[in-house]
């Protein structure tokens, strides 16, 4: 893979053309099955025999052999990453078609109405394989890619979201598989990459999550999301408007970095990935990107663009073809003027390189000069490279030689695998029985939970990202007394100067639940997104999903995929939440480990008036605390059982109608100003939720959980169960709040008061936990710093 075509061997299959540059005809007509497999492998196409045969048939009908440029183009277009061949069937069955009316456009990013004049835009993607091989560059270019997806709709990016998944930080070096990097190295590299790229282009990183789990040792996950805002009139589609539209290549140079990125993402990682695939990782240059954003948005604002698309996976090949094809046209492209990072690049390399910081504008001839002038003012390179043609064919020329001619319908008509070709089986349900074990020392367990890296403070990460550049982050990711902050549930952006309307953002999934039960785990992820948005006073409005899975050729992985999608569908449909944007990342496994199913969700909520937002830090001594929702014995996949070394158990289920009712009631109480603070109950259960609220408010609590147990649950279940649809709220006016909850039949328990300087939790007359807030903060705050320094 990588730098060369690797055509030296089996010379009879690769026929060098008589031109003054590297170009081969590939002798498919005389290739047998074994040769076809060899060609796919040797050229790094990652295509199956069946797909190679289809290509052979196509060219037989044309009466000629393909060039290497053509084969590479098809390898890109038909890769799992580009054409979703394994996931299309389940996605159609479950994910598409929910509240489609709300989605104004779904191209590189999803577009949804914000108010009468504006849309908001969401995009979410994975950059897993590159980050596993080269964490800094992989993560940085992940940011670069996602911001382009938002800009190419015509929107100003306003926030980044970065969910990250690694192996445990304390993994002994002896357990790091060959060819894999230590989780600490990956964690640091990824955060550095996001920081250096995100901060430099001036977009705040406001939300995310960091999860540590053994399943990510061999294959870390780096998902990146971006939110944007745009005037309705500025929406630009990723397709041509008319034949004659001129393709203008804008931005950075094309190089050998990022070659075969999509093919690479469509295979498992191996011991050799590092060496073989380094060239598949792009090199990021934020200072080319930053003016590129200005240039693009200025051209959009002035109405100079007919079509706009970013260079993502597949490079020029994908961009030129799709922009023409989606409008029923073809394209004629000349490679000669494209600026190159190095000399001697073969046309196939130019055609499929995924180098960063490039955009394609489609411009009407009369606007060309103005576009080029705007680019020049910002010192951004721009050059016309071809035009849209009526005939539905892509033709590419290099040094006066035609190097590619493909029907766009054939090129973009990649394979779709149905249930026969991608069979799926459902895993045998693991232990669904209640876990039975003796009551451990609760004080010890509580301290361990606070210090568990999945729960502990992530300020080491958050403070390295600029989360308030642009000055619009009105609810920050860290909330509370200045200098004593705790994790917020969601961040809120106020994107418009003249309006108090806000967008809330959160990112959630708990892979440990999906590991046991993908259906209920997926449902829980949606529940958590909703809880987090509601916690700050936002009404959930849309979701974006990044579905990270293992090898889809394994039926049990596909089984998990189907079950996950079914869970997402059931929840999203009942809640009326569309999936505005999505991405599927398969092959997240290495010889050593496979990831647990990880459907990362980004939730976007709308706040009518940001001045009514609520944060999670306790506000005032004397206020009352309530637990909203029902606590059940659902310890499966909890941080608590993890710490005790137990596996299996019953995972939390969800009740959508209760969730809906609870959300509406809480939001209306917030609107009226009755809720002083609110925090969702998630990992670590009620005890950790209360601790985090105390940490942020720098004040103690005195609560009794007798009502939570209700005489039925053991104290550890009341403290640490992670049952869904629960929040802790702080209120001043007891009567008013209780009345509202009763009227709407929302289950609630009175817990106690905000009081003193320590956390005191008892059950009846038995004091279960008693710890100074300062000590609680120390236990929670230090662990990640301890590992990362």
């Amino acid at each position: 893979m990588g730098g060369g075509n690797g055509l030296e061997k089996k010379g009879r299959l690769f026929l060098k053309c008589d031109v003054p540059f590297e170009l081969y005809d590939i002798d498919l007509q005389n290739a047998n099955d074994e040769d076809l497999i060899y060609i796919s492998k040797n050229m790094g196409l990652a295509l199956s025999l069946k797909e190679m045969k289809r290509i052979k048939d196509y060219f037989s009908k044309k009466g000629r052999n393909p060039t290497d440029v053509e084969l590479q183009a098809l390898g890109q277009a038909w890769s799992e990453h580009s054409c979703y061949k394994s996931s299309k069937v389940p996605l159609k069955k479950y994910i598409y078609g929910i509240e489609e009316d709300k989605i104004v456009a779904r191209e590189d990013a999803g577009v949804i109405e914000f108010d009468k004049d504006y849309y908001y835009v969401v995009a979410l993607e994975s950059h897993n394989h590159p980050s596993a091989v080269e964490p800094y560059g992989g993560a940085a270019t992940g940011i670069g890619g996602i911001v382009r997806d938002v800009v190419c709709m015509g929107a100003q990016p306003v926030a980044f979201v970065d969910p990250l998944f690694f192996g445990p930080l304390d993994l002994p070096f002896s357990r790091v598989p060959k060819g894999t990097k230590h989780p600490r190295y990956l964690f640091k590299g990824v955060v550095d990459g996001i920081r250096d790229y995100g901060n430099r282009i001036g977009i705040p990183t406001v939300a995310g999550q960091v999860v540590f789990h053994n399943g990510y040792i061999g294959n870390c996950l780096v998902n990146v999301g971006c939110i944007g805002i745009m005037r309705k009139k500025n929406l630009v589609h990723s397709r041509a408007k008319a034949a004659g539209n001129i393709y203008v290549y804008v931005g950075g140079k094309t190089g050998r970095d990022g070659i075969h990125g999509v093919n690479f993402a469509s295979e498992e990682l191996t011991e050799e990935s590092e060496e073989k695939s380094r060239s598949a990782v792009q090199v990021g240059d934020p200072i080319t990107k930053e003016p590129l954003i200005h240039v693009t948005l200025e051209c959009v604002e002035k109405g100079l663009l007919e079509g706009l698309k970013d260079f993502g996976g597949g490079g020029l090949s994908c961009v030129c073809g799709e922009m023409a094809h989606d409008a029923g046209f073809g394209a004629e492209i000349y490679l000669d003027e494209i600026p190159l990072k190095e000399e001697g690049m073969a046309p196939w390399e130019i055609w499929v390189s995924e180098s960063q910081e490039r955009m394609m504008f489609l411009v009407d001839e009369r606007n060309l000069d103005e576009v080029l002038k705007i680019c020049r003012r910002w010192d951004v390179f721009a050059v016309p490279i071809g035009k849209v043609i009526e005939e539905r064919v892509t033709k590419v020329f290099y040094k006066n030689k035609k190097v590619l001619e493909l029907d766009t319908v054939f090129q973009t008509g990649g394979p779709v695998y149905d249930e026969k070709e991608r069979p799926y089986v459902f895993r045998k349900k693991r232990n669904e029985k209640d876990l039975l074990f003796d009551l451990p020392d609760l004080k010890k367990v509580f301290k361990k939970l606070l210090s568990s890296p999945n729960i502990a403070s992530k300020d080491w990460v958050i403070r390295q990202y600029d989360h308030e550049v642009r000055g619009n982050t009105v609810i920050k990711p860290l909330q509370g007394v200045v200098g004593k902050e705790s994790h917020g549930d969601a961040a809120v952006i106020k994107p418009l100067e003249g309006s108090f309307k806000g967008l809330a953002v959160t990112a959630d999934v708990n892979p440990r639940l999906l590991e046991i039960d993908p259906y209920w785990g997926a449902c829980s992820a949606v529940d958590e997104v909703c809880r987090n948005l509601v916690s700050v006073g936002a009404k959930p409005d849309s979701l974006a999903d990044c579905l990270n899975f293992g090898n889809p050729e394994k039926p049990e992985v596909m089984g998990d995929f189907y079950e996950t999608c079914r869970g997402l569908r059931d929840m999203a449909k009942a809640l009326g939440l569309p999936f505005a944007s999505g991405n599927v990342s398969f092959y997240n496994e290495s010889a050593a480990t496979a990831i647990p199913p990880t459907p990362e969700l980004v939730g976007v909520g709308v706040v009518e008036d940001v001045r009514k937002c609520v944060t999670m830090d306790l506000k005032k001594e004397g206020n009352h605390l309530y637990l909203i929702g029902e606590t059940k014995k659902e310890l499966g996949g909890s941080e608590y059982t993890q710490i005790l070394g137990l596996t299996g158990g019953v995972v939390p289920k969800t009740d959508v109608s209760l969730l809906k009712r609870s959300m509406e009631t809480l939001l209306s109480l917030m609107e009226k100003g009755y809720i002083k603070s609110c925090h969702d109950v998630g990992e670590g259960g009620l005890a950790v939720t209360l601790a985090e609220m105390s940490i942020g408010g720098d004040v103690g609590i005195e609560v009794d959980i007798d009502g939570v147990a209700g005489g039925k649950l053991r104290e550890d279940v009341a403290l640490f169960s992670e049952s869904n649809t629960r929040w802790v709220v702080e209120v001043e006016d007891k009567n008013m709040v209780e009345k509202n909850l009763r009227d709407k039949s929302i289950p609630y328990v009175y817990l106690g008061r905000v009081k003193g300087k320590s956390l005191r939790i008892s059950m009846g007359d038995k004091l279960l936990i008693s710890e100074d807030v300062d000590e609680v903060r120390r236990l929670w705050k230090e662990p990640i710093w301890h590992y990362m320094g």
Partner: protein
């Protein structure tokens, strides 16, 4: 002059990225800010109508960001491009009493330009100070508390009482103000004597404190300084990010949403000064 006559240039090059909120801060006060790419001041790649002169404006603002990627040294490339053609004009501009503010990366640019600390001369040939990498060796995005130390020299803080503490957030990797090591004490003393120190980092009790309250390890906890005449001002923290109360990190605790944010007075002060002076 009248408020609505005041024109402010918000300068930018590639990698400047706090220009929108800086622009907004001035616009909200009813003066006329304008985005001005440096090339328009240098007369490169622009038509006659697009060209600008610094004397077209009553105030210059160099916003935060990562100009030219902050490669080489933070702010160095921006400053070099500016100085190559505008050095004399800038000196004249400052001598005429027109104010210049640099925030974060803008502060770094003013140091690299030699406009700050501006003790002996209006613009020095070489930088006389530097903003070094933070002691933590990391980008630090956190709320910082600034004590106003100026006795009235700085035209950007006229509306803030001496000793007042303001919450103005920081977000930078290179913010540690330093002078040549052997002369550091002398420089700090001179700055004090000349009333050139504007803001210092303090903790919630108002004491000069170490990390994280001083996010970078700056000498004498200095967060912002002005030149001898008080019309060139640089600070690391971002006043434009706390123009309103609802931009404060703890507004859900402190309320008072009708009151201005802690950074607003920086912009109001200079506008008031301009109205009086010109």
């Amino acid at each position: 002059m009248k408020k609505e006559e005041i024109r402010v240039a918000v300068l930018r090059i590639e990698g400047t990225n706090c220009e929108q909120e800086s622009f907004d801060a001035f616009a909200r006060l009813g003066v006329k800010p304008e985005f001005v790419h440096l090339k328009r001041l240098l007369g490169i790649d622009c038509t006659k109508e697009e060209c600008r002169d610094i004397f077209d404006y009553h105030c210059l603002m160099i916003p935060g960001g990562f100009s030219a990627g902050d490669y080489v040294r933070a702010g160095a490339i921006f400053a070099a491009r500016m100085k190559s053609m505008l050095k004399d004009k800038l000196a004249e501009y400052v001598k005429e009493g027109y104010p210049i503010i640099g925030v974060c990366n803008g502060f770094q640019v003013l140091i690299e330009l030699g406009l700050l600390p501006g003790i002996d001369e209006v613009i020095s040939e070489y930088p006389k100070a530097c903003l070094m990498t933070n002691d933590s060796n990391r980008f630090e995005c956190r709320p910082t508390l600034l004590k106003h130390e100026n006795n009235g020299n700085c035209v950007f803080t006229g509306k803030i009482k001496k000793g007042e503490i303001r919450l103005i957030p920081s977000a930078h990797t290179e913010g540690k103000l330093m002078f040549p090591i052997d002369e550091q004490k002398r420089y700090v003393k001179m700055l004090e004597e000349n009333d050139q120190i504007v803001f210092k980092y303090v903790n919630p009790k108002g004491e000069y404190a170490g990390y994280p309250w001083n996010p970078n390890g700056s000498v004498s906890n200095i967060a912002g300084i002005c030149n001898l005449e008080g019309n060139v001002f640089g600070m690391m923290p971002h006043p434009e990010r706390v123009f309103y109360r609802h931009q404060h990190p703890d507004w859900t605790r402190t309320g008072k949403l009708d009151e201005p944010g802690d950074g607003r007075d920086v912009f109001e002060s200079v506008v008031e000064h301009l109205i009086k002076r010109f």
